[in-house]
Symmetry: C2
Subunit: 406 residues, 2 copies
Amino acid sequence: MNYKKLDKSTVLDYISDVKSVMNYFGQDELQADEIGDGNLNYVYKITSLQDPKKALILKQAVPYLRCVGEEFPLGRERMNYEIRALQKFYAIFPSFVPKVHHANEDMSLVIMEYLDSHIIMRKGLLNKVEYKNFSEQMSTFMAATLFYTSSLHLSSSDKRALIDRFNSNVELCKLSEDLVFSFAFMEHETNINTKDDECAKKLFLDVEFKEKILELKYKFMTQNDALLHGDLHTGSIMINDSETCVIDPEFAFVGPFGFDIGVLLANLVSSYVYHSVVTKDDAYKEWLLLSIKEFLSKFQAKFLNFWSESASSALLVDGYLDNATIELYKVKFIKEIFRDSVGFAACELSRRVYGVAGVEEIRGIEDVNLRAEAEGIVLKIAREFLMSYKNIQNCDEILEIVKDAR
Amino acid sequence: MNYKKLDKSTVLDYISDVKSVMNYFGQDELQADEIGDGNLNYVYKITSLQDPKKALILKQAVPYLRCVGEEFPLGRERMNYEIRALQKFYAIFPSFVPKVHHANEDMSLVIMEYLDSHIIMRKGLLNKVEYKNFSEQMSTFMAATLFYTSSLHLSSSDKRALIDRFNSNVELCKLSEDLVFSFAFMEHETNINTKDDECAKKLFLDVEFKEKILELKYKFMTQNDALLHGDLHTGSIMINDSETCVIDPEFAFVGPFGFDIGVLLANLVSSYVYHSVVTKDDAYKEWLLLSIKEFLSKFQAKFLNFWSESASSALLVDGYLDNATIELYKVKFIKEIFRDSVGFAACELSRRVYGVAGVEEIRGIEDVNLRAEAEGIVLKIAREFLMSYKNIQNCDEILEIVKDAR
């Protein structure tokens, strides 16, 4: 099938030929509405007129950055990786990603479950919503997807086949290399205006800091531990009281274990900083700290648990080591993942301050002085994370750094 | 073209259709002779009857391990990676690999330069030949091929394209994972008989040692720094007084910087151990140590030199860091490569003692007592390398370990 960009009128024609979707809706009449902020893609909600609760999402990539226009080309192949990652995550643990009803790589298009009762987690955190199941659910999602796509579980050939499926996600990996690890730490046209900003100047001259960012960039580029979401901030999580759902994995690739965990950790921390500076709600801040701690410690426990349930793998041949030594090895291994996560969290926290893609809870603070205060705290936490990540021992040390920064 | 195994009579038919080869030989009459020990592949020498100095090598893979037979299947796709690596290495630095005159992946076949005046380096070392150009030439080959296939030079997309070309060399990567990093350190049917060997028992119970082997195995499996030869022992080097030529890169894949260097270092050390125990030729031992030192230090200097000549890369965006900090970063970086090389050398040294693939200079020692002595020294050096590689500072420390072991 040749690629054709759909619009509101042709969307329904397209799905009339898709059996799985027609089966879902039965004989109902359908309506298509364009929804979403659509930075990159076109998103339509397909709804049954007879039963408005029956609805699906159709998402199609265009070969450019939608919010800028055709003069900013961006390969629509990114949708291939989103589709493949959604399907892979669903196969590992169906509860935490939207179900894919139909996917078509030629058309750069996916039709999936509509999450009607969920909101973007970043918004919920801004509004001080306490998500009781978040740490339990996200720790399961991340432990499962990271463990079961790694060489700790897969055979050597299955791991290489997985790499094959994601290795060519070149453009979006390059975007991360540039935006997460480079441009936000130097004078660059993509940054927000930093010309007269003394803090920006100080950061751009902090060579000790930047050398460590470079170490982590190299790890991001060359360490193929497991399948990552690749952009797992709180805007990529749809959530409600009972469910947590990960969306938009178009940056997916096989990369270092610590990256997704670090990105999520960073975004939880930036929410904490927002509440420190703006709402000053101590109870909510406590809940955020507790959630960070629970998320990180449950992740580690579950990852180790999946490992203990798993048979021999590419890495650990049956009979190679006695069980006691294997257990010690695993504990060391998970500690290294944890440390790298703290390093990557530092990258994510700090790149959001001057880089092109800010986060609402910091860049969105309207009062200039409060925003500057929040940025200062974020950078202070990032620096402490980065300077100490290789030796950090446990979650409490992280919480201390976060609480003490002001 | 469909795959067909050639034999002595059909080889000449095949090349009569290959223009580049026919151009090389002109109107000469040709003769085909099967040569080589042929563990894995069939190798023919094609010679001009009019001018016997005009000759090429034709090498064809069969879909099984030739020395065992069809009951041991091994995908003939391994030849694809050999062809691709030879061509890539040649493109980077033509002096150090045989020139490919014709390659055909469908036929799992390559026709290349015949090296008439070279011998296998391992044999030369056994016979105490001092190769004056070895360290100079091999350090150039390895610095160039490793640097120019890494993210320190390539763009992000070129690096991923390179990974694409080698990622599916599954079977041979798996062989290395098993044979270099696992089976040789445990009771396993592929090992030489270790039942009553006290030293083997001791090694197999040395959990401290084996945990470190596991760390390096994980690095081998997941760290994609640069294109490796993958099996660069002294039997993969053809050499004479003036030239050094690397052959047989069928294990090629994108892996950790230190692996090839470590394998070569290990094989030079095992030659040193042979001469310590068997010939006791102090002058030759000195030459070996000097060669090791020169090879390692020249490699580091040349790698840094290529780096300083290279423009910005996937890793180092122009303007990100000041030059002084970049220089410090590079020095740290090359030290990590050096340290990993020592770690991988330990794996290679020790896996050759009880593993299925021994090296002639150790396993070939006929006197049982001398062989046991040599094996003991090899294992001692390997253990010291492995226990100290993360902190080793310079080449002299390595030479001290090698000299002091007895």
